[in-house]
Point group: C2
Chain length 352, copies 2
C-alpha cells in the first residue's frame, strides 16, 4: 500500500520532491562522493589544501570542491564536503589520514576511554563546517538542494573503537558483545553530538540530511536493531522535532533484507540503496512510503559504454513513476573518467 | 507452504537428516573452518607440513587435521580440509600463500589468459584430494558425515582475476562488465571443472557437498543472476544427475534478500546463512523446503560467556522444529578459545 506522505516543498528544488512524497521524472540525480579525486579540479584544490582534514576544515576550499561537480554536471543536489570522522575529531579523538592508508585514530576500546571525549569542545571545528554550509547556500544555484550529512553512530563507532577501517568491524562488535552497557554509552554520546552537528548544518542552510551507516551490514539481527536502528530512530525523532520539514535519508549499507525494517522503524523520509539491493526490493521500499535513492554500481562509471547505458536504463525502467532519486550504490571511484559521468547524466535527464 | 521433500537417508548420520527433509532435534552441528588455527593440534600439523598447500596436498596430514575437531567435539559432520583455490592451482594458475597475506596468483584479466588453464592437467592434484576423502571415510566414526566442497565459480573467479582477495572484487566485476562473453568462458570452465572435482569427492566417499560463494554479495541483481545463480544451478543439476541422493548446500554469503531466489532457482538441498541473515528470514528459507544452516557470529565464540549462551539460545528458539543445522555465519577465527567451542556444543546438544 502506498501511504499518502505528500508534504509541501517550500523551494523549487527538484531533489526534494521525492523526499516530500512527490514522484518527479526524469528523477533528480546526484552521486555519492561526486566531489572527489576523479575530477582534476578536485585534485588541484586538494593539493593546495595540504592534508585531507585541512581541506575539510577550510570553509573556502571545502565549499569550492563541493561546487565543482555542480558546475560540471548541474546535479540536483550538492553534498557538503566533509568526512564522517569529523565528529570523533571534534570530540578530541584526533584523526589522521595517512596517504593511501585511510584514517587512523587512537582506538577507544572500553568505557574508561570515553573520558577523553568532550562534547563541549566540538564548537570550533563544527563551526568551520557550518561556515562551509553557509557559504554553499549562498553560492549554489537556487535550484540546487544542499545535503548535510554525518556518519551513523554505529559506523563512526567502528572507527573510534578499531582505530581504522577493518573488513569485519571486529573491534567494535567485540566491545558491544563484551560490555553492551559501556558500548551503549559511546553510542548515546554519538547520538547526542550527531544531532547537534546535523542541527547546526540545517541552521546554516542544509535542505536535507543523509546519515551514512556504511557498516550496517556486519551485524546479526538483534545487534542491528540495537546499534543501527535504535540510534538512527532517536536521531530522526529529535531532528524532526527541531526541524520539521527537513527530510532525512538513511543509508544502512549492506542491510539487505533488513532494510524494510530499518525504514519502518526509523521513520526516515528516504533510503539510499547499495548496489546489491535488487530493483524489485527497491520498489518494495518505495511502497513503504519513502523515497528510494540508488543504486548504480560505480564500477560501471569506470567501464562506461553500452554496459553503463544498459544498467542506467534498467534502473530507470524499474523505478519509473516512483519517488526515486538516481544515485550510485557506493561512492564514485577515482579512476572514473569524467566523460562517463556526463554520458550517464545525459541519459538520465533524457529519460521520458 | 512447506513442500514435502522427505527422502530416505541411507546412513545413520544425523547431519544428513535435515538435508533429506527431516527435522531432528537437537540440531546437528559442525562449524565452518572447524579444522583450523584455534586448535593447538592443528598448528602443530600445519608447522610440520611447511606450506599451507603442502598440507592440502598431503592426504595423510589433511585427513589428520580434518579429524582433529571431530575427536575434540564429536561434531556431526567433518569437512574435507582443502582450499577453494585448489581448483585454479590444479588448472595451472599457481597459487601461493604468503604468511599473513592471503593467497597470491598471477591474475588472468582477459580471455586470452584462459589458454594457460588446462582441465586435463587437474588429475594429479585432484587425485591427492580424493585420496584424503578416501582416508577420511575410513577413519571417521560411522555416525559422522563427510562434507566435500569447492568454491563457487564466481568466488573462485574473483581470485583468479584479481590475483588476490579484495574488498570489492573490482577486477572480476570489471571484466564481467567489459567483456561478459569472455568472462562467461572462465565461469563455464570453472563450472565444468568444479563438477568433476565434486563428483570425484563423492566417488571417494563424501556424503554431502557445500559450494562456497563467499563474494556473492558484491553483485547487482542482474549480475547476481548470471554469475552466482546460473553457474550454481547448472552445477547442482549435473551433480544430482550423477549422484542422486547426495545433498548439496549453497552458501551465497552476503546475498541478503536475494537468498530466497538463489534457493528456489538453484534447487540446492540446504542453504548456509551468514551472520547478517535475520532469524525470521532463516525461517522463511526453511519454508521454501530446504535445510537451513547457520548462523552464529564467530566473534561470540571469542567473547564466550553469557553473550554466547544468549545468542545460541535465540538461534535455537527461532529454528526449533525446523530442518536446521547449527553452524557459524562465517569461519571460526584463530583467537577462539577451544573451551568456548565446548561450551557452545554442550549448550546446543542439551537443547530440548
Amino acid at each position: 500500500m502506498v501511504s499518502d506522505t505528500t508534504r509541501p516543498n517550500p523551494t523549487n528544488r527538484r531533489f526534494l520532491e521525492p523526499l516530500h512524497g512527490n514522484p518527479v521524472w526524469p528523477p533528480p540525480i546526484w552521486l555519492m562522493r561526486q566531489a572527489g579525486r576523479y575530477l582534476p579540479e578536485y585534485r588541484a584544490t586538494r593539493e593546495e589544501a595540504g592534508s585531507f582534514l585541512s581541506l575539510c576544515y577550510s570553509p573556502k576550499m571545502a565549499a569550492e570542491v563541493t561546487l565543482q561537480p555542480i558546475r560540471r554536471y548541474a546535479f540536483d543536489a550538492a553534498i557538503l564536503f566533509a568526512d564522517i570522522l569529523i565528529v570523533p575529531d571534534a570530540l578530541g579523538q584526533a584523526v589522521g589520514f595517512e596517504t593511501g592508508e585511510g584514517p587512523r585514530l587512537d582506538p577507544i576500546t572500553e568505557e574508561a576511554g570515553l573520558k577523553g571525549l568532550d562534547p563541549e569542545a566540538t564548537g570550533e571545528k563544527f563551526g568551520l563546517i557550518f561556515e562551509t554550509v553557509q557559504r554553499l547556500r549562498q553560492d549554489l544555484p537556487g535550484e540546487t538542494a544542499l545535503i548535510g550529512f554525518c556518519g551513523a553512530p554505529w559506523t563512526v563507532a567502528t572507527y573510534m573503537v578499531g582505530g581504522q577501517g577493518s573488513p569485519d568491524q571486529a573491534a567494535a562488535r567485540s566491545w558491544a558483545y563484551r560490555d553492551p552497557s559501556g558500548f551503549q554509552k559511546l553510542i548515546d554520546l554519538l547520538v547526542d553530538v550527531s544531532v547537534e552537528y546535523l542541527s547546526g548544518q540545517v541552521k546554516a542552510g542544509a535542505d536535507a540530511l543523509q546519515i551514512f551507516d556504511s557498516w550496517a551490514g556486519s551485524l546479526p539481527d538483534n545487534e542491528f536493531g540495537r546499534w543501527v536502528i535504535d540510534p538512527t530512530r532517536v536521531m530522526v525523532e529529535r531532528l524532526k522535532a527541531r526541524h520539521p520539514g527537513v527530510p532525512i535519508i538513511g543509508f544502512p549499507r549492506g542491510a539487505g533484507g533488513s532494510t524494510a525494517e530499518f525504514v519502518t522503524a526509523t521513520e526516515v523520509d528516504g533510503v539510499s540503496c547499495d548496489t546489491a539491493m535488487p530493483l524489485c526490493a527497491m520498489r518494495e521500499l518505495d511502497e513503504l512510503g519513502v523515497a528510494v535513492q540508488g543504486n548504480l554500481d560505480p564500477l560501471l562509471l569506470v567501464t562506461g559504454g553500452e554496459a553503463l547505458d544498459r544498467r542506467v536504463d534498467e534502473i530507470l525502467a524499474a523505478m519509473k513513476g516512483r519517488r526515486f532519486i538516481f544515485n550510485l550504490g557506493h561512492g564514485i571511484t577515482p579512476p572514473t573518467p569524467p566523460e562517463n559521468v556526463t554520458r550517464m547524466v545525459e541519459r538520465v535527464r533524457r529519460s521520458g
